[in-house]
């Protein structure tokens, strides 16, 4: 195409047209600068958002199934409370899942089923619909996401009291400090690999605290006793402590993972304490305590209840649940549906809804993606709003940057008027002329984009070093670690890349159209006779 060779000659002229070269170089530079800025900004922002969402999902799941009011009023749920086989106690989802029978009620042995209660939902074959086992079975058949799996979860509320007496010396036992906080306690199952991403590495203080606890425990342990520690798991042991185990068996209580807020308040790994809750008895309400120790800390990100959400073994949550019978239990439960890519959440929800409808269990379950959870909905909406706003601002910046292309091409058209006339006299159509200048605009846009993307790649590669340098210069953290974490994300956002590249290409093309039309509308006769 001769248009390309002419466009190339116009964009890379000889020294005589140096002014055109300088103007086009400035246009390329401005676009590169804008692309660099936008790609770096969106990459870091997307990385932070992904991290936040990962942490939210680490504590929950991309999709959750929670029992509806229909479930709690169903024969399936209520039958346990009047069945001897269920010990006249309502079952959790986990218990329902592991129960031998879906329907434990025996009309011959158990009391009469109250007439005001709803009737059983039956399958076509007349058996009781089991919404829990059916739901779990259906989840495993969904192929909208890879590695799909399901677990039940429970959440309770209680009070946590921790002893945070971090003595300078193990012999100094005079000072005692306590941390007390009302918390949500979530059951931690081994099917949440994402929690690993949120765990905070042990600090030197944590390691010292663990050693101190081991030494204290060791000094109080009678070597002749049978329950002396075994040497199983050791956390950063010293030579003296190599024979000690962590945690010492039976002495420390249940392990819990605490949110970072506790660490900021002075807690360390190895601290001990208890969870406290109240249990009604026939005569009064009594406080119950379960011993715990801090097994680690995690970063809940910007999750609204993150500072009050602790993770504990399922048994501990079950103990709290068991303390208050019936519907008044301070507990929520449901099924966590996990899979590899959280972006598949929408598809999984859609497929589950269709399958539940077909299986007749849809009324029993509320299906939510992580974007719809009560405590994440506002946050996700805010993130989406910010994203839209920043995208709009970016587009405006790109348009402003690409307006340089218009100026540059208008100058070029004026500079090349005579050649336009000559080409028209040789039969070039207005389309040929418009193409030449349109190509010039696109090349400038593409060159600016490529340079900007290259610069963004380099910047992202060294972003934490750059931020560190700038923090050193200003004497404090450039970005608050509470919100942004200790290191910034350094992965380039493909979404941002595509958005910027597409926007720049389209805007460059549009910017090239105006001068291209101007060029094509020039009358060859007037140009050729002008000289």
């Amino acid at each position: 195409m001769f248009e390309l060779s002419i466009a190339r000659r116009y964009l890379f002229p000889r020294w005589r047209q140096l002014s055109v070269s300088i103007i086009s170089s400035v246009a390329i530079l401005v676009i590169a600068l804008v692309v660099w800025l936008i790609v770096v900004f969106f990459s870091v922002k997307d990385g932070l958002e992904t991290g936040w969402i990962d942490r939210i999902v680490a504590l929950t799941a991309p999709v959750r199934l929670t029992p509806t009011e229909h479930y709690y009023k169903s024969y399936y749920y209520l039958a346990d409370s009047i069945s001897s086989k269920s010990n006249y106690t309502s079952k959790t989802l986990g218990e329902k899942l592991n129960a031998d029978e879906s329907d434990p009620y025996n009309p011959d042995d158990d009391e009469e089923y109250p007439k005001q209660w709803v009737k059983p939902d039956l399958t076509a074959s007349g058996s009781l619909i089991d919404p829990v086992k059916s739901a779990v079975a259906i989840v495993s058949t969904i192929d909208a996401a890879k590695s799909i799996r399901v677990n039940d979860y429970e959440t309770a509320t209680a009070n946590v009291i921790l002893s945070t007496s971090h003595h300078a010396s193990i012999n100094d036992t005079k000072k005692n400090h306590y941390l007390e906080q009302v918390v949500f306690i979530g059951s931690l199952d081994d099917n949440t690999p994402a929690i690993v991403k949120a765990l905070i590495p042990l600090t030197d203080d944590d390691k010292k605290n663990i050693s101190r606890k081991l030494i204290l425990q060791s000094s109080s342990t009678n070597p002749h006793r049978n329950d002396s520690p075994t040497n199983s798991t050791i956390v950063n042991p010293t030579e003296d402590q190599a024979s000690l185990s962590w945690p010492p068996t039976g002495t420390f209580g249940a392990p819990v993972l605490l949110p970072k807020a506790f660490k900021d308040a002075g807690a360390l790994v190895g601290d001990q304490g208890y969870v406290s809750y109240y249990s009604p008895t026939p005569s009064s309400i009594q406080e119950q305590r379960i011993a715990i120790y801090v097994a680690g800390f995690y970063d809940p990100g910007i999750m609204p209840i993150g500072s009050k959400y602790i993770l504990a073994p399922r048994g501990l949550v079950a103990d709290i649940r068991g303390s208050i019978p019936g519907e008044d239990a301070p507990i929520s439960n449901g099924l966590n549906v996990r899979f590899d890519n959280i972006k598949d959440a929408g598809k999984v929800k859609k497929d589950l809804a269709a399958a539940f409808e077909a299986a007749g269990i849809a009324p029993y379950w509320k299906i939510e993606t992580y974007q719809e959870y009560e405590y994440t909905k506002d946050l996700i909406q805010q993130l989406n709003s910010e994203k839209n706003l920043f995208s709009l601002i970016s587009l405006i910046i790109i348009i402003v940057a690409c307006s340089n292309i218009i100026s540059m091409l208008v100058i070029l058209v004026n500079d090349k008027k005579m050649e336009i006339g000559i080409l028209r006299s040789m039969g070039a159509t207005w389309v040929h002329i418009a193409t030449i200048f349109g190509v010039c605009g696109m090349v400038i846009g593409a060159a600016g984009s490529l340079i900007g993307i290259g610069a963004a790649m380099v910047t992202l590669r060294y972003i934490n070093e750059l931020v560190g340098m700038m923090s050193d210069v200003q004497g404090h953290d450039m970005f608050n670690p509470v919100f942004y974490g200790s290191i910034l994300p350094d992965q380039m956002s493909m979404e941002a890349l595509m958005m910027v590249f597409t926007a720049t290409a389209v805007v460059s093309l549009l910017a090239g159209i105006v001068p291209a039309i101007k060029a094509s509308l020039l009358r060859p006769s007037a140009i050729l006779r002008a000289e």
Partner: protein, 228 residues
């Protein structure tokens, strides 16, 4: 090769300017040009010779009248194609493309026609032949800026022949040249008529050159007067 008796027919061509003052420059011009025939148009400055040439060459629209090129009426849609395939121009100021070499300039009409212009192609060989005919083959890779006026006009002649047009328009082709070079260029143009059987319409102030053409017209008061 033309299909009609006349390669160019202009019927009742009018050109009226309204700005800056109202001026009926051309008043019903009739002109017919046969293939292999040279036509010269002379006249005083400002009489509209170049305007007429541009109208005949489809570079400018007439206010009224009909223009046929090889029997085909020229309109908005076909004029670029006609200009590229059947017509060629030679200007007083040469109008070469300065950013390109001599060869690139000669090949430009073929490139616009989307012909293969790679080395060894038919268009490339033809361009070399034309450059040889105008004695510029040894400068085919020169930038046109480095050429003299006469050389530039010879490049323009070679370029005009590139797409094997039926009709060549020349607007005062020797106006910027010395006498000797001017005679050389005149001969080259007349050779196009005689050797290549092209039609030539030339606007000139040079009465000697006009006298060497088959037909000569004087443009005066908006009308053409035959001097042949």
């Amino acid at each position: 090769m033309t299909k009609n008796k006349y390669i160019l027919e202009a019927r009742k061509i009018h050109k009226k300017f309204t700005y800056p003052i109202e001026n009926d420059l051309l008043k019903g011009i009739d002109l017919a040009v046969k293939p292999g025939e040279s036509t010269a148009i002379i006249g005083r400055s400002g009489q509209g010779k170049s305007t007429l040439l541009h109208i005949l060459g489809t570079l400018e629209a007439a206010t009224a009248g009909v223009l046929l090129v090889d029997g085909e009426a020229v309109n908005f849609y076909n004029k670029s194609r006609i200009r590229n395939r059947q017509l060629a121009f030679i200007f007083q100021s040469f109008h070469l493309m300065d950013d390109f070499s001599v060869l690139d300039n000669v090949l430009m009409p073929a490139k616009i026609a989307r012909k293969d212009t790679q080395k060894g192609s038919a268009a490339y060989k033809q361009a070399q032949e034309h450059l040889e005919a105008v004695e510029l083959i040894d400068r085919m890779h020169f930038n046109t800026r480095l050429l003299s006026g006469g050389e530039k006009q010879r490049v323009a002649i070679a370029r005009a022949l590139c797409n094997d047009p039926d009709l060549i328009f020349a607007d005062e082709p020797t106006g910027n040249l010395d006498e000797q070079t001017s005679l050389h260029i005149q001969q080259l143009l007349l050779d196009c008529v005689e050797k290549h059987h092209k039609a030539l319409v030339v606007v000139t102030h040079d009465t000697d050159f006009a006298a060497r053409c088959n037909n000569t017209y004087r443009l005066e008061n908006g009308g053409l007067q035959s001097l042949s």
